[in-house]
């Protein structure tokens, strides 16, 4: 077995992660449920890759994500960091036994659980109490009403990423950073994060937790690392990654550095703007140094992007935007979990299994060795009906990586695409060979063609769990099919109306990412390295002396030259 350990560092990374795990939980639930579609029952994915089997002290078996999550103290909202599965703490804590003196109690205002979490809680108790048969029938109409309320309340109230999480986590999974003593707004640069991580016990504790999950793995295929790179958390992630690279030399890290749409907004004052630009450059340079493949994710605005044709996203709600990113990460992660099959794989539910190491090798290990990849997504993926649609798949793919060039020609581009749950003509799920043919045809017709493209196909579409935000437009049908005419009056449709969505996602290593790299390099040079630059002092405060800063610049410019050898001599490239 080839296990993956997932790490989420930072608030936005956890928002994304929470959606990601909801998908997995939904897949698990659908596979067990008798009513669900055949496709979900035999999805052909090995969930053990992401999940671990455990046992509580009471001997109850558990199945929890193999996950380490790091966030601010208090970011878990009304959910306990130890989860509820391993809840062995009795009502009156035994711990008081160690002190016979007086006890003072400081109670923070208990946070109210929202409707969704309340319903989860009730469901759990009902499951424990009653036999399963009676609950589904008699309360059907009753729950229907409630579900709508839940969706509505989630739309309006989500504040913490736990508010919409339906997953049980292992007590070792959720780690809160205590004793930071800084306001969230001030925790906005690489230096402060780095400081927070190196001081105190945090580093050791977090490494210990990772070790806990890695030790159980028979043959880990890699680490899937999601970091919120908009603030101090990239400093924490940087240090953490360095440790990982040191400790687990053979385990490749696939890094998604996610950025929420709003985090670039408040640059009213100049100092802050410089600090932010430097931070972006520093954190990108640092993060890319210790991973095998880095995928920058996070458009400045999703609402104004091409995606708005089918999705209605509110940029200021991380609950909305993170759902899109999570869907993309889910799609990319599918090939890691497919069972490798023999030559008869053509007719199975999945094809094109790839391990993280292979993916890295494929995209970054070949001739050009470019490790910065672009993430594209088609949500929902179009149906492969006629020749017209084939064209549209490549067109509909929307980059989630910011600051990239469009329409550049790159003879050496490498791609890995995952298509899952796509429709053939009508409402028929298309078979993998149909998809393969269709994609091939699409590439043949396309103007820009990559040098190499890998295709993974699964039949199982993206399941939409109840707590998924209502982001679908009215051109999307119940099973994610694209409609020609709006289906309803309301502009946004959620998990109650849309049950699953076909998806296509693609990682591509192309020189289209050059502007992204060049911007960071230019900012670092302009504000940090140039003589008398405004940010030199800032960099020093973050713990980067002149030489360190130059090293960071060196790393960035190496990445640029990898993609564009001409940039050394002239700015003119073909």
């Amino acid at each position: 077995m080839k296990e993956i350990v997932t790490i989420q560092v930072g608030s936005y990374a956890n928002f994304v992660g929470s959606h990601f795990w909801n998908f997995q939980d939904e897949l698990l639930g659908l596979a067990d449920s008798p009513e669900s579609d055949q496709i979900f029952k035999s999805h052909g994915l090995n969930m053990d890759v992401l999940y671990r089997t455990g046992e509580t002290p009471q001997g109850i078996l558990t199945y929890t994500p193999r996950l380490v999550s790091v966030d601010f103290q208090g970011s878990l909202g009304s959910v306990s960091s130890r989860g509820t599965l391993y809840n062995e703490i009795p009502e009156t804590p035994v711990d008081t036994l160690t002190w016979t003196g007086p006890v003072t109690t400081h109670t923070s205002q208990p946070l109210k659980k929202n409707l969704f979490l309340q319903s989860l809680y009730l469901e759990e108790n009902a499951n424990l109490g009653s036999s399963r048969g009676c609950e589904s029938e008699n309360s059907d109409s009753h729950t229907e009403v409630q579900d709508e309320d839940i969706v509505q309340s989630l739309e309006n109230e989500v504040q913490y990423w736990t508010d919409y999480s339906k997953v049980h986590y292992h007590p070792q999974s959720l780690y809160e950073l205590s004793g930071l003593w800084s306001e969230i707004n001030d925790f906005n640069n690489y230096g402060i994060g780095r400081e927070a991580f190196s001081g105190g016990q945090h580093a050791e504790e977090i490494n210990e937790r990772l070790r806990f999950f890695v030790e159980e793995c028979d043959l880990p295929q890699g680490i899937q690392f999601v970091v919120d790179d908009s603030g101090g958390f990239s400093g924490i992630a940087g240090e953490f990654l360095e440790n990982i690279a040191d400790e687990y030399t053979n385990i490749p890290v696939l890094l998604y550095s996610v950025h929420s749409p709003d985090s670039g907004m408040d640059s009213r004052n100049r100092k802050l703007a410089i600090s932010r630009k430097l931070h972006d450059a520093v954190s990108f340079s640092k993060l890319s140094a210790f991973c095998k493949l880095i995928v920058p994710v996070g458009l400045p605005s999703l609402n104004t992007s091409r995606m708005s044709k089918y999705l209605c996203l509110e940029d200021r709600k991380p609950y909305h935007t993170s759902a899109v990113y999570a869907s993309a990460i889910h799609s990319i992660s599918l090939p890691f979990r497919m069972q490798p099959l023999g030559p008869s794989a053509q007719l199975s539910n999945t094809s094109g299994a790839v391990k993280i190491k292979d993916l890295v090798q494929m995209l970054a290990g070949q001739a050009r060795q470019n490790m910065v990849t672009i993430l594209d997504i088609a949500m929902p993926a179009p149906a492969f009906t006629g020749t017209q649609a084939q064209q549209s798949l490549l067109e509909i793919l929307q980059p989630l990586t910011p600051e990239i060039a469009e329409g550049v020609e790159d003879m050496q581009a490498l791609e890995s695409m995952t298509v899952h749950g796509a429709f053939a003509s009508g409402m028929q799920k298309s078979h993998s060979f149909e998809v393969k043919d269709a994609v091939q045809a699409a590439y043949l017709n396309a103007v820009e063609r990559p040098k190499f493209s890998h295709l993974s196909i699964a039949q199982c579409p993206l399941p939409i769990p109840l707590p998924f935000p209502s982001i679908f437009g009215n051109l999307i049908g119940r099973n994610g099919e694209l409609l020609d005419t709006p289906i309803s009056e309301s502009t946004s449709r959620g998990s109650l109306e849309v049950h699953s969505v076909p998806m296509a996602a693609r990682l591509r290593s192309s020189n289209a990412v050059l502007p992204f790299l060049e911007n960071r390099l230019a900012n670092l040079r302009k504000f940090g390295l140039a003589r008398g630059a405004l940010g030199t002092e800032l960099l020093r405060n973050w713990g980067f002396g002149k030489e360190d800063a130059e090293e960071l610049g060196e790393a960035l410019s190496n990445m640029v030259t990898t993609l564009n050898p001409a940039s050394l001599e002239s700015s003119d490239s073909d």
């Binding site: 160690t98 002190w99 004793g179 003593w181 306001e183």
Partner: protein, 555 residues
């Protein structure tokens, strides 16, 4: 106001406001922590928004759990936490001392004294107090055999402020023995060599000293032994995992045979590594089988300065072989090892690798190419303890180590206790506790030092002296005694020339020496050093500027 011109959003607090903001913050922090102090303090139960319960009596932990917002308070908290990092204890005392200095300063400043003069007075008093501390401390001779009694007293004093008496007394021996275990002459004590292992299912009183190691994981193969005696330990950092990619998009291999060949070749190289370890095992176990001839025995005697080794190797031949690997071991390798009767643990903590070598002897190997019997360590007993999904492997009958089993709060207490003992050994001195030093130093400042100071700085010295009294005052307050009575009684005794501390049960003066209440010299020195520095900095602030935010509003 010129700042207003530069930035209309900037918020400026003028002199008196700024000062009072700082003083209030310091007092606020003091108020939160003061009930913690001493063996009669209260334990704090923190209930989080999600209903999580945390119990702590450790100032350090408490500070970290609080979400402090005031910049002044953060500054004080940082100092206090740094205090803990450097000397291991005294977080609460630092916060209280700074708070009291600010309080005394407030009184003087309200009477029209300039902060600068006050700060000068603090500086003089600080230096005098430190000098006095040098005189006052009780030297302890640390020869080859440290005085265990005095170490125990120090440990007990620390532990009793964190745990109830019976438990504290029980842990005292453990803590002292643990430190003595890892102490090596002429070298600083490395407390990382002591691990505090937290086992959730055990009770506080089950805490014990394990002379050896406890690893928080076990072997991952059902056929491996769960308990083994007389173990050769191989500590290594060698990957026993099959690593290359298996299935690929066809272009890595031109045909299936080629792929098969590469897979087989890679698998073979892993197997070879495993085989080398098994070879070593066979070689070593044969050696010990021959031990009865006494010929090859020297091999062990050199490697192990452990008495068990000699005894047991001679006594029986039932030896075992254990691998503790920092890297991974995959199931096929585990299989081979299990068949060879070897116990294998994978992904050991890096720190445990160092500890293993120290505890069991031998050396950590990074490659299987240069394996010799000399690389091996020895442990008399290795066994596994399983509860639910938690597994622990005990490596015992070696030289050192302590895992202590129980809740987090104990962990803090034990940690402080260990540091206390370590400090004592390194300081070669202790200070009389129960407030004795504070009262004595205060009397010294008021009676002697003050007279040598000219001008208004005298008031600064006096303020400092009064601030010192905060420790006995709060000790008394937490015990429900009348503070004024206590202070008068104590200072009276000191003026008579008797060095006394406070008996928290009766409120009577006692002799700390007789009661065995000792504090750390370095902790005390650190408090007296850092407290006034921060207080002075805060007092000398005359304008607080913060761009774009309103700081008078409560957040």
């Amino acid at each position: 106001m010129s700042l207003k011109v530069l930035n209309p959003n900037a918020e400026v607090l003028n002199k008196s406001h700024a000062l009072h903001m700082n003083i209030n913050a310091a007092k606020g922090l003091q108020d939160v922590l003061k009930s913690n102090l001493g063996p009669k303090g209260t334990i704090k139960m923190l209930v989080g928004g999600a209903g999580d319960i945390k119990l702590t009596k450790d100032g350090n932990t408490l500070l970290k759990e609080m979400q402090i917002q005031s910049p002044t308070a953060i500054m004080i908290a940082r100092t206090a936490v740094a205090q803990d990092d450097t000397s291991g204890d005294g977080t609460t005392s630092t916060v209280i001392f700074i708070g009291e200095l600010m309080k005394q300063a407030e009184r003087c400043i309200d009477e029209g004294m300039h902060p600068r003069v006050l700060v000068d007075g603090f500086e003089i008093a600080k230096r005098a107090t430190l000098q006095y501390l040098e005189k006052f401390k009780t030297p302890v001779v640390m020869g080859d055999e440290p005085d265990k009694e005095i170490l125990k007293m120090v440990a007990r004093t620390t532990l009793r402020t964190k745990l109830y008496e019976a438990l504290a007394d029980q842990l005292t021996d453990i803590v002292v023995n643990a430190v003595l275990c890892i102490r090596k002459p002429e070298e600083p004590i490395d407390l990382f060599m002591v691990e505090i292992m937290h086992m959730r299912h055990k009770f506080d009183v089950d805490t014990r000293l394990v002379e050896g190691l406890v690893l928080d994981h076990g072997s991952r193969h059902p056929d491996m032994k769960r308990r083994a005696e007389n173990c050769h330990i191989l500590t290594c950092n060698v990957s026993l995992e099959y690593e290359k990619s298996e299935i690929n998009a066809g272009f890595f291999y031109s045909n299936a045979e080629q792929r098969e060949a590469m897979v087989a070749a890679e698998r073979r190289s892993v197997d070879e590594r495993v085989q080398k370890i098994i070879d070593l095992k066979n070689k070593v176990l044969k050696l010990s089988f021959l031990d009865e001839d006494d010929k090859l025995f020297t091999c062990f005697a050199v490697k192990d300065n452990n008495p068990y080794c000699h005894f047991q190797v001679c006594a029986d031949n039932d030896n075992n072989f254990v691998i503790i690997n920092q890297k991974g071991i995959d199931p096929p390798s585990l299989d081979i090892l299990a068949r060879a009767g070897i116990i294998a643990l994978r992904r050991a903590k890096r720190r445990n690798m160092e500890r293993l070598v120290l505890a069991c002897g031998g050396e950590a190997v990074n490659s299987v190419d240069d394996l010799t019997p000399d690389c091996l360590g020895w442990a008399g007993l290795v066994y596994e303890h399983v509860l639910g999904e938690e597994k622990y492997t005990f490596v015992e009958n070696v030289k050192i180590h302590i895992p202590v089993q129980s809740s987090l709060k104990i962990k803090d207490a034990v940690r402080d206790g260990l540091r206390g003992v370590k400090n004592t050994i390194e300081d070669e001195a202790v200070v009389l506790g129960a407030g004795a030093f504070e009262v004595a130093a205060r009397q010294h400042l008021v009676n002697e030092v003050k007279k040598t100071v000219k001008g208004r700085a005298q008031l600064g010295v006096e303020a400092f002296a009064d601030a010192l009294l905060v420790v006995p005052k709060i000790l008394a307050e937490n015990s429900g005694l009348d503070t004024q009575d206590v202070i008068i009684e104590l200072t009276g005794e000191h003026d008579k020339g008797n060095v006394v501390g406070l008996n928290l049960h009766t409120g009577e003066p006692i002799d700390p020496q007789m009661e065995g209440i000792f504090d750390n010299y370095s902790v005390k020195r650190q408090i007296i050093n850092s407290g006034p520095v921060i207080a002075s900095q805060l007092l000398l602030v005359d304008e607080v500027i913060r761009a774009g935010r309103n700081m008078r509003k409560p957040t």
